[in-house]
Amino acid sequence: MNIIQHVANLLIRSVFHADPASWPWTWLVQAVVIGIAAFLAFAFVAIFAGPVSWIERRIAGRIQSRIGPNRVGPQGVLQWLADGVKCWLKEDLVPAAADRPLFLAAPYLVFTGMFGAFVVLPFGAQVVAADLNVGILYLLAITSLVVVGLLMAGWGSNSKWALFGGVRSAAQLVSYEVPSAFSLLCVVLLAGTLSTQGIVAAQGGWPWDWFIFRNPFMFAAFFLYFTAAIAEGNRTPFDLPEAESEIVAGYNIEYSGMRFLFFLFAEWANIWIMAAISAFAFLGGWQIPGIAPEQIAATKGWEFVGWQALSWTIFLVKATFLVFVVIQIRWTLPRLRVDQLMITCWKYLVPLSMLMVLGVLVLLALVPEGGGADTILRGAMVGLGLAVVLVSALRVRRTFRVDREHYREMEGRDLWYPPYRLP
């Protein structure tokens, strides 16, 4: 039973003193609860998208040796509010030559495509709007709706750059669906279910229970999925549809004010969604280390709420961390060319992700779960993950140290200025 039915039944029992199974208005209460849940998810997107845009600008600033927005409110935290209010109140231009219905509807369609994905995201132990038994398929399908919206925006704007952007994004999204679907197929193979909660339940709280550390092919599949997801989200280095240097602003070139804001909104929501999918499919989702999902379900009252909150927090932390990685990638890598984009997908990601599916299948047959070989494999993969973390940390340290001496010679000051020091 999912959280929505649970809450609806609770409401019916406690407020209306009726039996939810036989009461004639059960559907109405459920509809209201679903509406409230949708509103909460919407508010979550809005509240997430705003501050993260500010955080990204601050991080981008630091990476580029600048500061980023720090004047609006304390340290610029209200920057997103200023941007939002301004965009909301700006003139809503519709070009005279535009295909009016398409032009007007496109941003909302894009946003709907992104927003629909929230239905199956498992936020916590019992918290999922609808635990569909075709969850992963639904995710792949609903996020593809975005293509229609972007293409509508590109075509409806009646501008050559917008059309280029729309067609590019259609080509890109359709292409990168393939590797991302294959990578998720690895997860489905291991979990034996398409349901998102089932996938989380098939993992565990400790890192060696996560799918990413299950075997080498899953480790690679995670990075393949992450790359494909970044491309699907039109993020740098795959932001060809809105490449300033080539096609001005891409599909959103003719949009101003609120409608443009919806595109931005959808972009931020999409970052969150792809980070969340990576987190629940590969990184164990909301699983609390040491606590089995059945134990959480068995608790009552405030204890139940506490475990729920903890699982929710764990999921949010994992997803937010991946969001930061996406942001850092954006400000690290330059943009690909169109042909390179397609080569990356069809010559590298697609064959490799197929290989990962095969490898996972073979390992499933050869290495029984829970056996000695499985334990060794998981231990080795966790070791590999730790090694990657350690090596990258040492590289960061080395890069920093070399430049620190140069900086001291040139400026006479210390280069050390940690991110928590806000200028």
């Binding site: 040796s65 990638i329 690290t332 990258s392 940390a393 960061v396 340290r397 890069t399 050390w416």
Partner: protein, 214 residues
Amino acid sequence: MVPAVPPPVRPNPVRAYFGNIRRAVSSTFEGMTVTMSWLFRRPSTIQYPDRTEKPVREMLPETYRGLLEVDLSRCTACLLCAKTCPLGCISIETCKHPDGAREFQTFDIDNGLCMFCGLCAEACNFDALAHTREFEASVSSAEQLTVRFVDRPGRLVAKAKDLPPRRPRGSILAALIPGFGRRRRRAAPPEPPASPAPAPAAGAEGPENPEGTA
């Protein structure tokens, strides 16, 4: 016969394929570590209007050519500057009194036209016309771009024999332009004492980028 240009070496396609993958992974990893290290570096931004250690005009180089300023009490109206100016952005008019003294009618410098080449200031023999280190001169109408230095009628042209000392640069502009120097500076936040802090501990930022190889 040996061809002048050796035929291109075709790389082994399999090696090229996996070499590309290796390069993509290693270069992304390298880039990610570099950007991560920049998060721990001091930004080079000078927080211009108010949060600088000292006003920006004091950070400018000694020879910086900012807005032009003329000290009329030292100006002999020799018109050298106006004649030197390639654009003609300095206009000087004088009239002669019956007793021989000359009076300034206009001494206008069109900041909008000026290209800050410094020829006029070099031509000036009496250090009357000089560049200041001021640059905050945005205005909201085109007329205000012209600075009129004759602030009151009856300003006599100076004689080269007895010149008063040059007034401090910038003070004349400050008196002429309303709201001049409006971007005042707040005290900069004190720099914390430079501690011999070690470089970022290896584990401190460790969990930040396990996806460095993404």
